[in-house]
Amino acid sequence: MAIRDITLGQYFPGESVIHRLDPRVKIIATLAFLVSLFFIKSFSFFAFAAVCLAICIKLSGVPFKFMAKGLKAIMLLILLTMVVNMLFTPGEVVIFSIWKITITKEGIYRAFFMAIRLVLLIFGSSLLTLTTKPIALTDGLERLMSPLSKLGLPAHELAMMMTIALRFIPTLLDETDKIMKAQTARGADFENGNLKEKAKALIPLLVPLFVSAFRIASDLAMAMEARCYHGGSGRTRMNEMKMKSSDAWAFVLLVVYFAAIIVSRRFDLF
């Protein structure tokens, strides 16, 4: 897999309804969705949440294949969670047991429960980053956090730090790719060998990478200073965020969704 294929925090260009929603609405909706997953007690409401999410994904026009690619990276984590839950959940109904390993019905139930929750968590949060430009995302966060700046939280600075970090992920990945190729051409071997050899093989990659990162950082700091950047106070924006009617509708739907999840806790559904 090429380094560039990592889809973490990637933006998927598009003009869909979801893309055009106000970033603040999308952030709140995503948070609400993630929280709702922890309120759900039954598979049937996981199905409900999945359908709602699937509709949003469909509306966004991001191909499912593309979303699934992000899942591949954490497949191992999901499998591990499943195994651990299956083995260590105490339960009554034993399905089978060999030696010290007992698998119970409750264990299997929990394993799938956790796996589904994890998958929905990943899909839900990647939908946000896939449909929101990093700049819009951090602008949205800044606006959402700004009431807290009265309490001394440096909202603007935090948002700016995130913007810069997000902006430089692809740059650093590119840089890594380039240095790796250059050192491979000089006979470096990043794949074979035992752990110690592998760790040692990283030096020719990490040293130039750090040098590059510091160079990029100091260039950027210089460029920002040269344009008189001095933090958030008194800064105006080129694109003011405005709520539209579609944002209001999204909010209404969100409230309905959340209410449904809360209500579901009152019933014992499978």
Binding site: P13, K65, K178, I179, A182, G187, A188, P204, P208
Partner: protein, 264 residues
């Protein structure tokens, strides 16, 4: 060793919306001992092509026939790959990876440093990070030369250097080529360099190979080159302007020397 590229295609992020066809059915030959130049506009696929020749990328389809162990590649801004404490140690990195022992590697490294015009006794013990930009680049090139390649690929080796550093590096490359009988593949944006040094020019445009000929034949097709966003050597450019203004220049003019000769 000749290099044979047949029907080479490379697609980045295949199946994704930002899919790029970086190379589209390239077929070409580079003969042993040749000074070949690859020119083309930004994004035309030059770097991708030379990375394939060096065996650093897997083709989407097609193939490259070459012995990877005999090919050395110097990347754009190669000074960013320096990492060791001293210049000498850094140049030793390649030979050591090839399995040479400490002494052999050091001997190879010293030879390579001398080839690029850096005195190993004088500068070998310095930190590579304390050198000037031009010196760093020479050290990085030495790092590749120390592996004794038969084919040396250079991806824009003079990017970001001043005119003197620029000429210095190219003269050095040309000297090394003659001394060691290397095959050179030079990626360049500078038509004067190509005119001056290359024996074989490959012109890339949008991932396709659009011309594959001697510099003389390539620069004859000035209109076509300008059409794909490239220039001409200055001598030819000035000669064309003079012709437009009515001056008779019958001979073919590429370089300044040609021009001076023709104006006499």
């Amino acid at each position: 060793m000749d290099i044979k590229v047949s029907n080479l295609t490379h697609i980045f992020s295949q199946g994704m919306p930002f899919e790029t066809i970086a190379l589209n059915g390239i077929t070409c030959d580079i003969k042993e001992g040749e000074f070949a130049a690859i020119i083309g506009r930004t994004g035309s696929g030059k770097t991708t092509l030379v990375q394939h020749i060096a065996g650093l990328l897997k083709p989407t389809s097609g193939s490259v026939d070459a012995d990877r162990k005999k090919i050395g590649i110097v990347f754009q801004y190669p000074e960013y790959q320096l990492f060791e404490e001293t210049v000498l140690k850094d140049v030793c990195f390649g030979p050591k990876n090839l399995g040479f022992n400490e002494e052999e590697a050091e001997a190879l490294a010293k030879d390579a440093l001398r080839l690029v015009g850096i005195d190993p006794e004088l500068m070998g013990a310095l930190s590579p990070f304390n050198l000037s930009g031009g010196e760093k680049r020479r050290v990085a090139i030495a790092g590749v030369l120390a592996m004794k390649p038969e084919v040396l690929i250079l991806d824009e080796p003079t990017a970001g250097l001043d005119p003197k550093g620029h000429d210095g590096i190219l003269e050095m490359i040309n000297d090394i080529k003659k001394k060691k009988n290397l095959t050179i593949i030079l990626v360049s944006h500078n038509m004067d360099d190509v005119e001056k040094y290359a024996e074989h020019v490959l012109v890339m445009h949008d991932g396709k190979l659009v011309m594959d000929d001697s510099p003389k034949e390539v620069f004859k097709q000035g209109e076509k080159l300008i059409g794909i966003g490239l220039g001409l050597p200055w001598g030819e450019t000035i000669a064309n302007s003079l012709r437009e203004r009515g001056k008779q220049i019958s001979k073919e003019v590429l370089s300044y020397e040609d021009l001076l000769g023709a104006l006499k």
